[in-house]
Amino acid sequence: MKATVIVTPKPSVLDPQGVAVRDALRHHDLPGVASVRIGKYMEIESDGDISEEKLHELCRDFLSNPVIEDYRIEIETPAP
């Protein structure tokens, strides 16, 4: 199975990297760019299945820090 985990800074948390990239985009003749948020994209491949519940546990406890980050999970199972 393959799972993708996307971790993003919480909307309430300042993202200094995102602000720097937003400002740089504005310098690319894009004055309308309002916001950029920078997160992480993780691809997890496993020979055995990892339950969705286990993935959420991993995301909450390790792959993201719930104080500052949100996450979402996309699970891909190969066609039978």
């Binding site: 800074p9 309430s12 948390v13 300042l14 200094p16 990297q17 720097a20 992480k40 390790f62 792959l63 820090n65 104080v67 500052i68």
Partner: protein
């Protein structure tokens, strides 16, 4: 008093801490490797600064899963004294021994300079040698010292006097310009609710000798190691 300095792969302030504890204060001190499974028998556990596991995933996130940390959690629950300096502070937050999290400095710069700190709570085992409101000049060296916590957590920390050190200017005033990290409430160091776990971004171990430009870091170690001389119990 017996001290442990925990070494993670990528710790780089471990020898400084060891030197201060053993050579400056003459206290029995051992290194403990991150794969060791016990810190039993130590009264003070130091999580030193550095870049454990290359700061991969998040600063301190992987170190928190090291075998030794299970024993550090048990020691914390047992009331043993634990101090996390810089990356060690980040590890303590990731381990949920301290509230909140540390993110990239607002300026995006790695800040490496002496900073003024104001002692907000002198009633902790880590600051008992200080006067309330005392100013300390101690270097910082970090890219991710921007302390964050949600409003409820912050209110709880204030109610419990968990904010121990804040960044200020040379006059002790807490102003925006004294503060390129962006840290919430200008927080430089906090303790847990029980008061036995302390994390701070500045490096007291780099301010323990006149040669280094400041001896103010000694106040932290003096509080921990010589409580009698500080007038504490």
């Amino acid at each position: 008093m017996k001290c442990a300095v925990v070494r993670f792969p990528g710790s780089n302030c471990d020898q400084d801490c060891y030197h201060v504890l053993r050579d400056v204060f003459g206290v029995e001190t051992d290194y403990v490797w991150h794969k060791d499974t016990s810190v039993a028998g130590y009264d003070l556990i130091v999580l030193p600064g550095g870049f454990s596991y290359g700061d991969y995933l998040r600063c301190g996130a992987i170190a928190r899963t090291s075998p030794v940390m299970r024993s550090v959690l048990a020691a914390a629950a047992d009331g043993k004294l634990i101090i996390g300096i810089c990356n060690g502070f980040q590890v303590l937050c990731e381990a949920r021994l301290l509230p909140g999290a540390l993110i990239r400095n607002r300026s995006l710069h790695f800040i490496c300079e002496h900073r003024w700190l104001r002692v907000e709570n002198a009633d902790t085992p880590f600051t008992s040698a200080c006067q309330p409101g005392q100013l300390l000049r101690i270097p910082v060296a970090h890219g991710e010292g921007n302390y964050r916590a949600d409003p409820e957590t912050l209110a709880e920390m204030k109610a419990n006097r968990q904010i121990v050190l804040r960044y200020c200017d040379a006059e002790g005033q807490i102003r925006e310009s004294a503060h390129p990290h962006g840290s919430l409430e200008k927080i430089a160091g906090i303790c847990n609710r029980a008061g036995n776990v302390f994390g701070l971004m500045p490096h007291p171990e780099r301010a323990c000798d006149e040669l280094l430009g400041s001896v103010d870091g000694n106040m932290i170690f003096q509080s921990l190691l010589l409580p009698a001389s500080a007038g504490a119990v």
